[in-house]
């Protein structure tokens, strides 16, 4: 059964490869789908001397500088595009702006590109407030394995050409070897045992916090023996089948959590708690976060990462273009640049960005593959193979909402 | 030297008529007091003279010229307020020189006139003092100097003495009187204190509820009040109902002779009145205008004795010599001298 699935997957990938190579030979034809531009040459001709307003979360000086240097400076050199990076506290701010503009009938807004995924993407796509479809038509889309469910779906919402991936994220657990030792609890049974033996040193962020929510999803996957039951449309019967085991597990954990489970921290606070050695574990979507935090001085040197034996959830960072973007051509050129070999190499380099790539290295040149193979990994970062082996998909948002509500009713208020 | 005429001056605030068809004339160089209880319209009238407030109808004339369309700053009617006397951001010299500066008087001339007027208000050399360093009385004098230095056509003072203690008030009263005489400026001051009005003013305009009651020299308010209300305001509540026939008035207590040349009420229903200090006690037997009164109360006041008498059912106040003896309940004869009798309209 499982082999059958894998076979189908491989077949689809092969078909996509064939399709994308033919597409690469004649990308001009595919551009016909993209509103306003007949060929990629038209797109390139339209961008020289223009500005692209990229609205993105601005809370990391490293990402801010890296985007300016590795994307902004390069697209200026290559295409004459000026990148105006607009820092945001919350991506929802710009989503609201687009909604307001649409309600007021603004056909030419000011936002060209948004770093987005999940709920924010769904909001804009459901309201038909996105430009496109375009992401499968840009030249470097040929590198993207569109058959991969984590690229074809963004939290269950079909991408359908309305956003383009540029970075990959996978959930990892961070732990302090000074408190945990070298063998962290990699199953939920072991985690319970460890927490009972070491009360007060573990907790997870209060839901509906983004990070707390993904931890909860892992508990559901564990309870069901895998993600499969939650990948289709929401089903109350399925939910009711597994939820009691989840609540039982988390409620049993509660008395031995940090502050006896009377309160749950926010994600940013949990990061501080780990840094200050008040707890032994943190968690999040950045496999390279532990390494870069150690290098930045935010973490002690003794922090390492692990993934559960049953795997961890992964998703992708996308960029999208709103329906009223003044410069969609410039935005597409930047999205295309970010899928190119040059940028993906910098992004994969632990010494530079230290992110995961959404593209398989085999899609790029042999030089690329050699360079990636030669990267020196920080001891706090897991290998790409270790991560990829256990990558699990995200469920559709309806499941996420039900799980979050259930946690509040059955764990928090118990 | 300016005459001021107010003609049918009327002002309403919402439904309240603050000043109702006011007519009066202020002669050149005259000092007039606007007198009345608070809210009677006297300050409103003052503001209408300055132009800070416009009347709903009527006219203000300076030397026969209508001022209605002339803005405040061009009227030459300077007002001294009761509170917030001096500009806090200026020193005394700048305060006093303000009006001259507005007229564009050159600096040297301005300084000369400022120091001259400061001498006049007995504050020589105070130019560089700050306003808040001065006492209340000094501030009052600086404010007065600031008004006088521009040689206004009309000087308007709103309760100029209200915030001063008794000694300062006396001093200030004399200062205002003497300077006003000396400079011959037509002036109006507002007061609710009848003694102040009597002592300072050439003429008094008494107002109740926005209506002018009587406009006359101070003595008239004592000797010839036009109504019981006016008499009451000047502390005379003595009255006896009667009927005038020529030079006699028939009352329940007998027939009283009056000076027909003095009294102004026509024959018919009247009220007879005599000021408390004009009633004679212990009249010689057979004197005219003698009536019987019952003693209700005797109060020794030091300089005199005050009696409360029942006169034909009315309660009268009478002042007697300090050593006058009377018992409460006793009936005594009193004389109402014909030369002092005054007749008020009945109601």
């Amino acid at each position: 059964m499982f082999d059958m699935k894998r076979m189908t997957l491989i077949l689809v990938v092969l078909m996509m490869l064939v399709l994308s190579t033919t597409a690469a030979q004649d990308s001009d034809e595919l551009m016909g789908e993209v509103p306003g531009y007949a060929t990629w040459a038209d797109v390139l001709a339209a961008v020289k001397g223009t500005t692209v307003n990229w609205h993105m979360w601005g809370g990391s000086d490293k990402i801010n500088s890296d985007v300016d240097n590795d994307i902004g400076a390069r697209v200026q050199e290559l295409y004459g595009i000026t990148l105006n990076r607009v820092p945001l506290v919350d991506t929802a701010d710009v989503v609201n702006k687009i909604l307001d503009e649409s309600a007021a009938g603004v056909t030419t807004g000011s936002v060209d590109l948004i770093w987005i995924n999940g709920e924010n993407f769904r909001t804009l796509k459901d309201a038909s407030l996105l430009y496109g479809p375009w992401s499968e038509a840009i030249p470097n889309a040929k590198f993207v394995n569109w058959a991969d469910p984590s690229l074809a779906f963004d939290f269950g919402t079909p991408v359908e050409g309305y956003e383009s991936p540029w970075g990959h994220a996978q959930f990892v657990m961070e732990y302090n070897t000074a408190l945990v030792g070298d063998a962290p609890p990699k199953t939920f049974e072991d985690l319970t045992a460890w927490v009972e033996a070491n009360p007060g040193l573990f907790t997870y962020p209060a839901i509906p916090d983004f990070t707390g929510s993904v931890f909860l999803r892992h508990v559901f996957y564990w309870a069901a023996g895998g993600p499969e039951p939650f990948l289709g449309p929401f089903d109350q019967a399925v939910f009711d089948q597994y939820a009691p085991k989840v609540w039982e597990y988390l409620n049993a954990l509660e008395p031995n959590l940090w502050r006896a489970g009377e309160t749950y921290p926010e994600a940013s606070a949990l990061t501080d708690l780990l840094a200050n050695q008040e707890v032994a574990f943190n968690m999040g979507y950045g496999p390279g976060n532990a390494a870069s935090s150690i290098l930045e001085g935010k973490y002690p040197e003794t922090i390492r990462t692990f993934v559960f034996d049953t795997g961890t959830i992964s998703n992708n960072n996308f960029v999208t273009i709103p329906f009223n973007a003044p410069n969609p051509a410039g935005a597409m050129v930047i999205a295309n640049f970010m899928l190119g070999e040059e940028f993906q190499l910098k992004m994969s380099d632990p010494a530079l960005w230290g992110w995961l790539s959404p593209i398989s290295p085999t899609m790029y040149s042999s030089d690329f593959q050699a360079a990636v193979a030669a990267f020196e990994r920080h001891p706090a970062t897991l290998s790409t193979e270790e991560l990829a082996a256990g990558a699990l998909p995200e469920p559709p948002s309806a499941w996420v909402t039900a799980m979050e509500q259930g946690w509040v009713e059955n764990v928090l208020q118990k | 030297m300016t005459t001021v005429v107010l003609r049918d001056l009327t002002r309403r605030f919402g439904n309240v008529t603050a000043v109702d068809r006011l007519n009066l004339e202020i002669a050149s160089g005259e000092l007039v007091a606007f007198l009345g209880p608070s809210g009677c319209g006297k300050t409103t009238t003052l503001r209408m003279i300055t132009g800070l407030l416009l009347p709903i109808s009527g006219d203000v004339l300076f030397d026969g010229k209508s001022m209605i369309t002339v803005p405040t700053e061009k009227r030459g009617a300077v007002m001294v307020f009761q509170k917030h006397l001096l500009f806090p951001t200026m020193n005394v010299g700048q305060n006093v020189g303000f009006g001259l500066r507005m007229q564009g008087v050159e600096k040297k001339e301005m300084n000369r006139r400022v120091s001259e007027i400061l001498e006049l208000v007995k504050l020589p050399g105070f130019e560089n003092r700050r306003a808040h360093e001065l006492s209340g009385g000094q501030q009052q004098r600086v404010a007065l100097a600031r008004a006088l230095v521009v040689r206004p056509k009309v000087l308007l003072l709103d309760e100029p003495l209200a915030n001063l203690d008794a000694n300062l008030r006396l001093e200030m009263r004399e200062l205002i009187r003497s300077i006003q005489r000396e400079m011959g400026i037509s002036s109006v001051f507002v007061t609710h204190d009848q003694e102040e009005a009597v002592m300072l003013a050439d003429r008094i305009a008494l107002m109740f509820d926005g209506v002018l009651q009587q406009y006359d020299v101070p003595q008239a308010f004592y000797q010839k009040p036009l109504s019981t209300r006016v008499a009451h305001f000047f502390r005379n509540d003595n009255a006896l109902a009667g009927t005038r026939r020529g030079d006699v008035v028939e009352t329940a207590l007998g027939t009283l002779r009056v000076d027909a040349a003095r009294v102004q009420q026509p024959d018919g229903q009247v009220l007879v009145t005599v000021r408390p200090e004009d009633v004679r006690l212990n009249p010689e037997a057979g004197s005219p205008n003698c009536i019987q009164a019952k003693v209700l109360l005797v109060v020794y006041m030091g300089t005199h004795t005050q009696l409360q008498l029942d006169v034909g059912g009315h309660t009268w106040l009478v002042h007697s010599d300090a050593d006058f003896q009377a018992r409460v309940g006793e009936t005594i004869p009193i004389e109402l001298p014909a030369s002092r009798l005054w007749l008020l309209p009945a109601n």
């Binding site: 809370g59 300016d68 701010d93 936002v111 | 300077v78 307020f81 509170k83 951001t89 808040h132 521009v150």
Partner: protein, 267 residues
Amino acid sequence: MQKIIRWIVLISLVVVALAPILPQFVWSFSHRWLFPSLLPSEWSLEPWEYAFSTSSRVGEAFISSMAIGIVVSLLSIIVGLPASRALALYDFRGKSVIEWLLMVPIIVPGIVATMGIHQVFIRLRLTDTFIGVCLVHLIPCIPYMVLVMSSVFANYGTDLEDTARTLGAGPVSVFRYVTLPGILPGLLVSTMFTFLISWGQYITTVLIGGGSIITLPMVLFPFIAGTNYSNAASISLIFVAPAILVLIFTSRQLGRESAVMGGFGKL
């Protein structure tokens, strides 16, 4: 003796005022500062280097925040001064309604008001423009200006202005020589608070300015939300610098003996 007490009071005031800034200062030079260390174990100039780099956009954000703050302050004076005078000194129909409406932007969270305003501004083509951002900042700024200034005007009264009128001063001279000098301390203080309110606006600027206008809070707040304390510290020190200058100036003004400043007692 009295001098010593004065110095003690002064020093403790400075300490109380600056105490919250001190950790920021240390953070801004720290590379590794983990609990329970009292001081960072590794120091670094990186947060400051980043703050002054073009990538941080702090420089351009500082200039636009400053320009917006100045324009907003001037507009607040132009609109707020006559309004506060009218509210303080005159009775008119609907006065209490206006007073109530003025309180609304202070009570209602900015985002609620701004979402509605955004639509209006879009229709008026004011979004993504400098003047649009200035206008939206007026919404939280004007109530403060009017509340403070109407209290100042009420305290100052009209007697002095009327006196000046009767002494021959026209309306312009009255304002220049009597009204303005009298209300100036209050006006300076309220103008500076207005400036600071504009200086601290985030969500209004994001919605109306939408990325065309980058202000200091837009650069700073993502770091605070992202718990990037070192970078947040260096930029927030740049952010609070004008506020501290204003505070020092204001306390000097408030300290002066001035009848007009008594109006602040009512607030």
